[in-house]
């Protein structure tokens, strides 16, 4: 996005372009690449979702046969989780963390390049499985054994290798972020003075380096079960298919928070700016984030209430899970209190941030209901669960990312986005998200299992509504792409501060952000003499 080219060696045309982007170690360029990569994957995963919703538009099999449908469901989940949401957050971290803590770059720039460039290869490998004999992975993004081991298609091995590569990328990225935050803060910036986006990412990075190796472990166990004669997950050889689920969800639940904590950070940056009032309860926000992260390690069993666990285990997981509502509630109350008696204006980032808080809270409510074991016997593996996690992920992770893009894009590109188009995007996306996912609560409660290609007639109306909503949602995101490209190519020049009462080091540098910033550390705390700082850049 930044059109500076002073470091390019003397090559010409395409070679120079390729060399610049493959060899760059600049956090802004790598951040942009992460974001574009995530955006691409978002559209591929979205296209798969469109296929799913088209097939589910009416009962009966119209377009996609059942085996192929399972491949769609699986790849939609894998791509959205590992290809869209996670890289988008890493991209935002790459761009923003150095700018927000006054660092010249990430601490380990070459590693940064490496962790990005693993991803296109990992996903090319994963996506190529669509064209293989036997088709793409078809066992759901949770790839439960033995469906994925004994009964998996041949392409499962490509999937395993791809997951390993993504895992390496995430762990390296997380290490880089931790090292940067611990070592490169502006002199004098205490941990408890860091912007909340940085805090939430620090905690996310800890989750990543602990959770991703567990995922690597579980896919390795799959690999040896498939090819090297072990029986981790097969009762025939003394194993247990439930071991798979325990190991997978020990990764899987922290993963859920990996996909939401940075969103919390984004909302905590944006709401104070547009309320023109400091964030309410900074300390409790940090502690709440940390306790959510801690709790995420001891609640994995709530994904498995129907597998036949002992009574006391179910009780323990139920109570731990319900506890998550407490710190999450604190956050929602804090955001509300931040808005309270402020002087609010509602530019697009603020609208997305408020929608994030409201709709994520709805996802939190259904999460609380799901935690109650007896009721979960009725909700488990139905569309109620699908509604729940899409409410946390779409208005959560994805609206969070969109809020961040509208908020920081003027800083990155030097141009203001078109406010009118931004608002149109917001309202259509919000209506479409609710139209898509709210009816899923009802189809789930009425008894529709998830991951079915065809359903009985009683669910037809809800599904048709969801499909119409999904189509609209797909269109709004194409519109978002248009807005982003339009903003990058031109528009009203952005001021350095961009937003009237934005606070933080990233607003002390010029817009668009030059390729190199904070080559000498900025003063902290920020003084009013912003001209001094600008001069130093």
């Amino acid at each position: 996005m930044v059109a500076h080219a002073e470091h390019v060696p003397h090559r010409s045309g395409l070679a120079a372009f390729i060399a610049r982007w493959t060899l760059t170690t600049n956090h802004k360029e790598i951040g942009s690449m992460y974001l574009w990569f995530a955006f691409t994957m978002f559209f591929i995963g979205g296209a798969l979702a469109m296929g799913i919703r088209l097939e589910l538009f009416m009962p009966g099999i119209q377009l996609i046969d059942p085996g192929f449908y399972n491949q769609f469901v699986t790849m939609h989940g894998l791509i959205m989780v590992f290809g869209a949401v996670m890289p988008a957050f890493v991209g935002l971290a790459n761009w923003q963390i150095p700018l927000m803590i006054g660092a010249p770059d990430m601490a380990l720039p070459r590693l940064n390049n490496f962790s990005f460039w693993i991803l296109p290869f990992a996903f090319t490998m994963l996506l190529s499985s669509f064209f293989m004999d036997g088709g793409a992975p078809n066992f759901g993004w949770t790839f439960y054994a033995p469906l994925s081991t004994t009964y998996g298609p041949d392409s499962t091995d490509f999937f395993i290798f791809g997951v390993h590569m993504m895992g390496i990328s995430s762990v390296l990225g997380a290490i880089n972020i931790m090292v940067t935050i611990f070592n490169l803060r502006a002199p004098g910036m205490k941990l408890m003075e860091m912007p909340l986006f940085v805090w939430t990412w620090l905690i996310t990075a800890f989750l990543l380096i602990t959770a991703m190796p567990v995922l690597a472990g579980v896919v390795t166990m799959m690999l040896t079960d498939r090819h090297f004669g072990t029986s981790f997950f097969s009762a025939d050889g003394g194993g247990d298919p439930l071991i798979f689920q325990h190991v997978f969800w020990f990764f899987g639940h922290p993963e859920v928070y990996i996909m939401i904590l940075p969103g919390f950070g984004i909302a905590s940056e944006i709401i104070p700016t547009f309320a023109r009032k400091k964030l309410f309860g900074y300390n409790s926000m940090v502690y709440a984030t940390a306790s959510i992260a801690f709790l995420s390690y001891i609640v994995w069993g709530h994904h498995m209430f129907a597998v036949g666990m002992p009574l006391w285990v179910e009780m323990t997981f139920m109570i731990c899970t319900m506890f998550i509502a407490v710190p999450t509630g604190v956050k929602v109350f804090n955001w509300t209190a931040t808005m309270w008696r402020g002087a609010m204006t509602f530019e697009t980032p603020m609208l997305f941030a408020i929608a994030f808080v409201v709709l994520f809270t709805i996802g939190g409510f259904s999460g609380l209901m799901l935690a109650i074991v007896p009721a979960d016997f009725q909700y488990h593996d139905t569309y109620f669960v699908v509604a729940h996690f899409h409410y946390t992920l779409y208005p959560g992770a994805i609206f969070g990312t969109m809020a961040a893009v509208y908020y920081w894009l003027p800083k990155w590109s030097g141009h203001m986005y078109d406010e009118r188009l931004g608002k149109i995007h917001f309202w259509t996306a919000t209506i479409a998200v609710n139209l898509t996912f709210f009816p899923m609560h009802f189809s789930g409660l009425a008894g529709m299992p998830r991951r079915i290609v065809d359903y009985s007639l009683q669910f037809a109306d809800f599904n048709m509504l969801s499909s119409i909503g999904a189509g609209l949602l797909g269109l709004t995101q194409l519109f978002f792409l248009y807005i982003v490209i339009k903003t990058i190519r031109g528009g009203k020049p952005a001021t350095d501060k961009v937003w009237e009462s934005a606070e933080g080091l990233e607003w002390t540098i010029p817009s668009p952000a030059p390729l190199h910033t904070f080559e000498t550390p900025p003063a902290w705390p920020i003084t009013d003499a912003r001209e001094d700082q600008a001069a130093r850049v």
Partner: protein, 365 residues
């Protein structure tokens, strides 16, 4: 959520309703506060922002109140859970075995066991892009997709699980291949069926009637086509049904002996075989025998279906290890197995003229 018919499903429904209303009330308070502040504290109405950003008292209050609400929810939930997990004192036990993509029911207290398959015909499931262009006339000759006149579309089976009313029935669940999950919403029983392990659940249904559910754990291609139907009958009728099954079984074994003694013609077996094939085989190998890629190989012109007969019989009877090709010997009668093998060897482009007799199958068992 469905209230259901058992005491447990109704208790769960109450918990669901209470927790839903708690969420709604909290939602109204929180979203109400947000709506108010969005309306009242916008810059045009409230130009000077206040300058508070901490209040320990408020923060403690809004930490403690949720804890109390959660405790209030957890206690009744825990009590119900303890009762759900009490599997003792059942008057009868049914072993439920999932396999791709059907349920097998075995009454451990009586000598009864059978498979339960989806009964919705594929003609209703498969359709062209838009139903309007491929309408089929129904019995009255009115053009209308058959599916729409079938209120139990995808929720009907050939042989439902028959249970007595007012008796505590224990279910043992297991699986032959991948993980399945047996769910009847009206009983609030959802339990995973794991290969190699046995899970327990129970139900005591007060009302006779037909209750429908589905498999709820992704179990492969036809996960959507694995319904659960339970036919609950008054106790006396249930006992009569058990007796009928016993008699039917004796008759069937007599029939099997007769089938073995008879020498069947190619035409007879082809006719039976076509029906067996379309019920059990066509979902993977396709009605035209062309299969689907290498996962579900073509039978038309295939090595096995045109090669040595014993190999073909072995594959159909015993299946292929670690694939979705299962062993059909325990599921089908000698006559049906003989018919389907004969059919596969003589249908489509296959013209072996081989006739496999039921007695050959019997000798291979």
């Amino acid at each position: 959520m469905r209230e259901g018919v058992t005491e447990m499903s109704q208790r769960i429904h109450t918990i669901h309703t209470v927790s839903l209303w708690i969420c709604i009330v909290i939602g109204i308070i929180v979203f109400g506060a947000m709506a108010y502040t969005i309306y009242a504290h916008r810059r045009s109405k409230h130009p000077e922002p206040a300058d508070f950003h901490e209040h320990l008292g408020v923060e403690i209050i809004w930490t403690i109140i949720p804890v109390l609400i959660l405790a209030g929810l957890a206690v009744p939930a825990a009590k119900t859970l303890i009762d759900i997990e009490d599997n003792s004192n059942a008057s009868m036990t049914v072993l439920i075995t999932g396999s791709q993509w059907k349920w097998h029911y075995q009454y451990l207290d009586a000598d009864i066991d059978y498979y339960s398959n989806l009964a919705t015909p594929t003609t209703q499931i498969n359709s062209c892009l838009i139903d309007l262009f491929c309408d089929l006339p129904d019995e009255q000759g009115i053009a209308k997709p058959l599916r729409e006149s079938n209120e139990n579309y995808l929720l009907e089976v050939d042989k439902p699980l028959v249970l007595p009313a007012n008796r505590k029935v224990r279910f043992l669940m297991t699986s032959n291949d991948v993980i399945h999950s047996w769910w009847v919403p009206d009983f609030a029983v959802k339990q995973d069926a794991l290969p190699g392990f046995i899970n327990e659940a129970w139900a005591n249904v007060p009302e006779p009637g037909t209750y429908r559910g589905q498999c709820t754990e992704l179990c492969g291609k036809d996960h959507a086509y694995m319904p659960v139907v339970v036919d609950v009958r008054p106790e006396a009728e249930f006992d009569q049904w058990v007796e009928d099954q016993r008699i039917a079984k004796e008759l069937a074994s007599g029939q099997a002996v007769a089938d073995r003694e008879k020498t069947w013609s190619l035409a007879e077996l082809m006719e039976i075989g076509e029906g067996v094939y379309s019920t059990h085989c066509a979902t993977c190998h396709q009605p035209n025998g062309e299969g689907q890629g290498t996962t579900y190989p073509a039978l038309d012109g295939s090595e096995i279906a045109t090669g040595p007969i014993p190999v073909h019989i072995d594959r159909v009877m015993n299946g292929k290890e670690a694939t979705e090709m299962q062993a059909w010997a325990p599921q089908l009668s000698d006559r049906d197995l003989a018919a389907v093998v004969t059919y596969e060897r003589n249908a489509w482009g296959n013209t072996t003229q081989d006739v496999v007799q039921p007695r050959t199958i019997f000798e291979n068992r």
